[in-house]
């Protein structure tokens, strides 16, 4: 049981390049999230998903796209990277609502450090 995994762990991009970050969870969780953490700050929500095939915007969605084609995977895309997107990106998942009971604990991946030059 690996929990939440993120690929890659580190990446350096040049301005204008594109890339996709992969998040995978093996806990059969319904909800998944992408956050970014800038130096000296708390995490901020980029996008989230409450189930396979659904996505929604969080607090800071501009410049990012996401897809949830499979329940266990949540992809974060940067179409044209900018230096302002230099950050550590965290994926998380939670069980969601099961049998009318809300399971709200979020389980986090180890993070991806992205540098955009």
């Amino acid at each position: 049981n690996a929990g939440v995994t993120q690929t890659p762990k580190f990446r350096v991009l040049k301005t204008g390049q594109s890339m996709t970050l992969l998040c995978a969870q093996d806990m059969n969780h319904e909800y998944m999230y992408w956050y970014r953490q800038d130096p000296g700050m708390g995490l901020r929500l980029i996008h989230y998903s409450v189930g396979e095939g659904t996505t929604a915007k969080g607090e800071v969605p501009d410049g990012y796209n996401v897809s949830r084609l499979k329940k266990q995977n949540f992809l974060l895309g940067l179409e044209s990277a900018a230096p302002s997107q230099t950050s550590v990106y965290f994926c998380a998942s939670s069980r969601g609502v099961v049998d009318n009971r809300r399971y709200n604990e979020q389980f986090f991946g180890p993070g991806t450090r992205l540098t955009v030059l």
């Binding site: 700050m41 409450v50 809300r102």
Partner: protein, 115 residues
């Protein structure tokens, strides 16, 4: 939109002593959850403790306890018998009781436990 404020950027405590980290939040909702997360140098986010707003009793988890003051919108974390392994960033977080289970984080408090 709700906001979460942690007014202590850094704190230090001697090993085996007690320390309290402060958190205040702003919301007009009455039904919500509050969390404390720990982020050690490994960067992994670890849930420390959780409080449901409708519960008056303060949550406790071993050496960790909270002081939840709903009217004052305050949610402090007390760490008793501090250990070197408690050295980390601590984040307070807020969650509405609605679809999505989305977290709003405070800016964090860096805690150093000194031997």
């Amino acid at each position: 939109a709700q906001t979460v404020t942690q007014s202590q950027p850094e704190m230090s405590v001697q090993e085996a002593e007690t320390v309290t980290l402060s958190c205040t939040y702003d919301t007009s909702e009455s039904n919500y959850y509050l969390f404390w997360y720990k982020q050690p140098p490994s960067r992994q986010m670890i849930l420390v403790i959780r409080q449901e707003a409708y519960k008056q009793q303060n949550a406790t988890e071993n050496r960790f306890s909270v002081n939840f003051q709903k009217a004052a919108k305050s949610f402090s974390l007390k760490i008793s018998d501090s250990q070197l392994g408690d050295t980390a960033m601590y984040f307070c977080a807020f969650m509405f009781n609605n679809a999505g289970n989305m977290l709003t984080f405070g800016g964090g408090t860096r805690l150093m436990v000194k031997p």
